[in-house]
Symmetry: C2
Subunit: 330 residues, 2 copies
């Protein structure tokens, strides 16, 4: 039976969904649902295409109370830059949770993933960072380095940003971009330790396979969000730092054990604190958050299908309101 | 970076891809690739949405030598008929195997799955059925009952078809449709045993959870293709029949152990023949096929991502040749 499918391009989606407090609230609702158990979220489907140095991940989640569920397909093809193409790509498909009919194709080329990933960092910062953050730091110099700082600034309006990356020129460009965008001071610094020493909030955004943040650098009144690890083999944070922190929180236990920072901490034997809380447990009050401004907290984000369903549902609501997109009958 | 995506509707796809020998050959190539190990095929992603009596499956496979790979999303929402909607639905997305960019969206509402599923039955019949088939039988009365017989007729031009289903009226309509379509005799019969007794080729196409085909009905010179089971809990063929057959072949071992006929045969302890061959092993000559017209063969099909990639690639080739579809820039 023929039905209508709405198609939204990246350009249309960029006009509809911005990195703002509304998007952060949308993603926070997804984590609340995860915390209350109102989510069906199967393991990530992952396929490698070694000949092209490529991989493709498929994520999905059904959140009770949402009209639709999204399936996100994220290809990463790491020879693409040599061809003049971005490595990351993809689309989201929104289905009716009542009939399973395709409702919308969100041809976002990864834009909505960028937004929901940065928004998750802001949710972590909102509920775990010290109340007062004057300096924020970022390790890494890519798209997420910029977006994570932009999102965190919405919930902790710091006045200074420090950036470190392996490539000093890229770090300088990243600092310049952040400073211009937020209208605050932003500096590239010579080593990662200095970033951590001077910041109350640090985000790591690298694909590192060896820790870029050492346990010895931790200091009272620090929150760290590690969002770079999303695959076995990646590791941004010294396992000893996870053990030393007053509170370690993950987005989804079943994912961080395999894909996140917890993996290395478990396999090295350093992690002895049992089952850590998920971000949703903090939001729902099932587990304590930070209890004093002096504590050290770490949040480990690998990215969840629940965030995808939340942001895709929000995007299509906005598209309906603004009558955006193209309809196809099939 | 903006790129072009081709969108094809169900109507366009029905005009481009038919159930013919060309489609059967396309699917046979997918099984040959599976048999030669030239396929990366991750486990199926599956999510239940119990509130809506729904489920959604995602399948994919990369076949070496193919320019693209498909990801297929198949929702099944079993309250839909009460809403006047079909239970099964879905779409396929074709990606470049070189860059991971989305090349095409095939909004087929399950049509290409119907074709590649029936084509797989024909591949099994071509390589496993007795050379001479005068009567073919089908158990089940749905879309696949019709298409499996239509496809099998392309490789074994039988002159008579027998149909059995739980609902006698539906069986009669199915027989009438088949007779008209193929221009041969087709009868609905009163019990499944009669179908098997009189046929050299039988296809089971039901969602049965208790066997609809008994081991005692097997006779020399019989080939059975069981294509209904695609989920844990389904079981069309008496486990003792699998053990009694001269040759049992599956589409993919890792799938039939969990989703196919072999599951019940293993769990009941009846299956004692070790690792069975896959259809691809028969095609590549790694394992013997039928060795005499008197043997009893069974083929267990659960549906593979490799078939999806093959039929999607074929569909987009046809669309390019015929300049069909709509282009969207994103």
């Amino acid at each position: 039976m023929a039905h209508e499918i709405k198609i939204l391009t990246e350009t249309e989606l960029r006009a509809l969904v911005k990195l703002d407090l509304e998007a952060i609230d949308v993603v926070e609702r997804a984590f609340r649902a995860l915390g209350s158990g109102d989510v069906v979220m199967p393991p990530i489907l992952s396929m490698a295409i070694p000949e092209a140095n490529g991989e493709v991940d498929v994520k999905t989640a059904y959140i009770r109370g949402f009209d639709g569920f999204a399936i996100k397909v994220s290809p990463g093809f790491f020879n693409n830059p040599a061809l003049g193409l971005p490595s990351l790509n993809g689309l989201m498909i929104l289905f009716s949770a009542k009939t399973g009919l395709v409702e919308a194709l969100l041809l976002d080329n990864g834009y909505l993933t960028d937004i929901r990933t940065a928004a998750a960092g802001a949710v972590a910062a909102r509920h775990l960072a010290p109340r007062e953050v004057t300096t924020a730091g970022v390790i890494g110099t890519g798209v997420q380095a910029r977006l994570q700082i932009e999102a965190a600034h919405l919930v902790r309006p710091f006045s200074r940003v420090l950036v470190w990356g392996r490539d000093a020129q890229k770090a300088q460009r990243c600092a310049d971009d952040i400073g211009r965008k937020l209208g605050i001071e932003a500096f590239a610094v010579a080593d990662a330790e200095e970033v951590v020493a001077q910041s109350q909030l640090v985000v790591t955004t690298t694909p590192a396979e060896e820790p870029v943040l050492k346990a010895g650098w931790l200091h009272p009144g620090l929150h760290i969000t590690a969002m770079g690890s999303d695959q076995t083999g990646k590791n941004e944070i010294d396992p000893a730092a996870l053990a030393a922190a007053d509170l370690y929180v993950c987005d989804r236990l079943s994912q961080v054990e395999v894909l996140g920072e917890l993996r290395a901490a478990i396999s090295s034997g350093v992690w002895q604190k049992g089952t850590p809380p998920e971000l949703g447990d903090i939001l729902s009050g099932k587990h304590r958050a930070r209890t004093s401004d002096d504590e050290i907290t770490i949040c480990d984000l690998t990215g969840t299908g629940a965030q995808d369903t939340a942001i895709a549902t929000f995007a299509i609501e906005m598209a309906r309101q603004k009558r955006s997109g193209t309809a196809i009958i099939t």
